[in-house]
Amino acid sequence: MADAAAPLLRIENLSIDFQSSRGPVHALRNVSVDVPRGSIVGLVGESGSGKSTLALATMGLMQNNAVVKGGRILFDDRDLLTLNAAELRSLRGRRISMVFQDPMTALNPVLSIGRQMIDIQYRDRGNTVDKRRKAADLLRRVGIPDPEQRLGQFPNEFSGGMRQRIAIAMGLMGNPELLIADEPTTALDVTMEAQIVHLLRLLRRDFKGSILFISHNLGLIAELCDYVVILYAGEVVEHGTVQDIFHRPRHPYTEALLVCDPARIEQVSRELPTISGDVPNLLNPPSGCVFAPRCPRVFEPCRDRQPGDTALSATQTARCHLLNGGAHG
């Protein structure tokens, strides 16, 4: 066992390219993320910011055209990128597991829920009766009534919210230390979303694991997470505790994201704030700051020189020229 103070998951300077017919797409560039033990870390970013790439790389589930250009993914001090397929397989499901975005497609439609939940215990000794009991027990813990009867049913007999609960139960089957949840509530209604978020919070308490929670919904991040990482166009632009990010955002992109959320706008208005411009093309990322083309506070160095990370406090770091001695606040 590694020492308890080290983060459970430490992603260091990870860079990933996707090969495409028009050249490499630089999807992640020097991304570093820590997930401390027992904490929930929120990964926020718009579509195309690389959040799912990061999750899939951690699971060792990258697409064939993905190439790791550098960096390490340390899980409990072992670099996941150096493991072979068999070693990864022994970690996945047991120590790291994942809940996917779409509960409709994550389950096999032609096998009963019970069959699927017993199948994924293939590594464990014990007979089918015990495995079935364990499956029913987990279904009960995620709030599915009459689990014994429902094990015989097929995914189409469950509602979307129930299916996501089943997917979470399956993710928790091996009692993992790290659960990666990739937008687990986007396909669900708000009342179900609130129930799932509440469930994740209870499960964190019971299972004492860590959660990497990926979302573009700022409300959910504020509701659930301890730490927040803001990803923009493949770079981490700011990270800190949830209070740092929501009360004292320092990067102009973080500020803009918070300003644009209609749920945070008190005064009713037909004219909503937006971030003008488009996300940069990652075939050819900007040479300076990645946010410069859309930044409302852009000044001379931004377009030419990449900003370094500025530590703002023990917990908060942002990557912006305004913060390292820039008097252009």
Binding site: S47, V197, L220, A222, E223, P262, L272
Partner: protein, 345 residues
């Protein structure tokens, strides 16, 4: 971000504030779907082989206003939108538009009606044919409505200008568009015939917050400049609060609460409305909720609960709710609710 106005005289119509007249009036509308045939129902011994997706829905839409339909999946909001435009047959009730009842008339009347009414579908990428260029897509309504005398290339550029896209987009195909651009093409297509009323089904679902604001601002600008009336179907309450004048909350096909948006948000009266508002995640880490007000999920439409249909999930349920169906009643501030024990108002 204010976009430049690019109106031609042809499209410009006087832009009224929310008027007093009624543009669309829906009364006692019911939409019924057949679940199984009579033989299967007989064999299985099932009495009720229909489900009612929309029941007893009545509301008026005044010109120039935005009416929002809110509800969870399966609440009937999309069925209601489709029934109004005539894509789903209505079982009973009436839809009166500008003094006529187009859904009960012949095909010609329906076609004339659909020139005044346009629908923006939920998934913009899926609702655009991948094999047609943007020009073909946004000028298709002219061909469908037999208006070939229009110069389609000019019309296409005019429509793209209206929605803030560059004119060279005419030759693009849907896969070359971002989510926000595809949404704008959907708006352009809806605007083609200069309709009076646009029904927008989830206009911002799946968009990032920054792009979501752009689309909503575009819709607001078009409303101001063209005097459009909107019915917006959505589950995003944060958006509804900003963009709509009146709203209705649907549950199992019925309006449980309807009224001015500001009033509904100020003091939700139906327990379901209250629960929906409380379920919205609060983007402030210091105001976390530690309980969940609405538990469980919407019952199946094939097994409607007796009495008030919300009683199975209502935190304030009482005995009367289980047996007696509440009737719609009017509150002093103009709201209409269906609840025996309303929370406020």
């Amino acid at each position: 971000m204010a976009e430049a106005s690019l109106l031609t005289p042809h499209a410009a119509r006087a832009a009224p504030a929310v008027g007093d007249g009624v543009l669309l009036s829906v009364s006692d509308l019911r939409v019924r779907y057949r679940v199984m045939g009579p033989i299967k129902a007989r064999l299985l011994g099932i009495q009720n082989r229909f489900v009612d997706a929309v029941i007893d829905v009545s509301f008026d839409v005044r010109p120039g206003m935005t009416f929002a339909l809110v509800g969870e999946s399966g609440s009937g909001k999309s069925s209601l939108g489709r029934a109004i435009i005539g894509l789903t047959p209505i079982h009973s009730g009436s839809v009166v538009f500008d003094g006529t009842e187009p859904l009960k008339g012949g095909a010609g009347e329906l076609q004339a009606y659909r020139r005044n009414l346009a629908m923006m579908f939920q998934d913009p990428v899926a609702s655009l044919s991948p094999r047609l260029s943007v020009q073909t897509l946004i000028t298709e309504p002219f061909l469908i409505h037999n208006l070939p005398e229009r110069d389609l290339a000019t019309e296409a550029k005019r429509l793209l200008g209206l929605v803030g896209l560059p004119p060279d987009f005419v030759s693009r195909y849907p896969h070359q568009l971002s989510g926000g651009q595809a949404r704008r093409v959907g708006v352009a297509r809806a605007l083609a015939l200069s309709p009076k009323l646009i029904i927008a089904d989830e206009p911002t679902a799946g968009l990032d917050v920054s792009v979501q604001g752009e689309i909503l601002n575009l819709l607001a600008r078009l409303q101001r400049e063209l005097g459009l009336t909107y019915i917006i179907i959505t589950h995003n309450l944060a958006v509804v609060r900003h963009v709509s004048d009146e709203m209705a909350i649907m549950y199992m096909g019925r309006f449980v609460e309807r009224g001015p948006t500001a009033e509904v948000f100020r003091a939700p009266s139906h327990p379901y409305t209250h629960g929906l508002l409380a379920a919205q995640p609060n983007p402030d880490p210091d105001k976390r909720r530690d309980n969940v007000e609405l538990q469980g999920e919407v019952p199946s439409l094939t097994r409607r609960p007796s009495g008030c249909e919300f009683h199975t999930r209502c935190p304030h349920v009482q005995d009367r709710c289980r047996h007696e169906r509440p009737l719609a009643r009017l509150l002093a501030d103009g709201r209409e609710i269906r609840c025996h024990f309303p929370l406020a108002g």
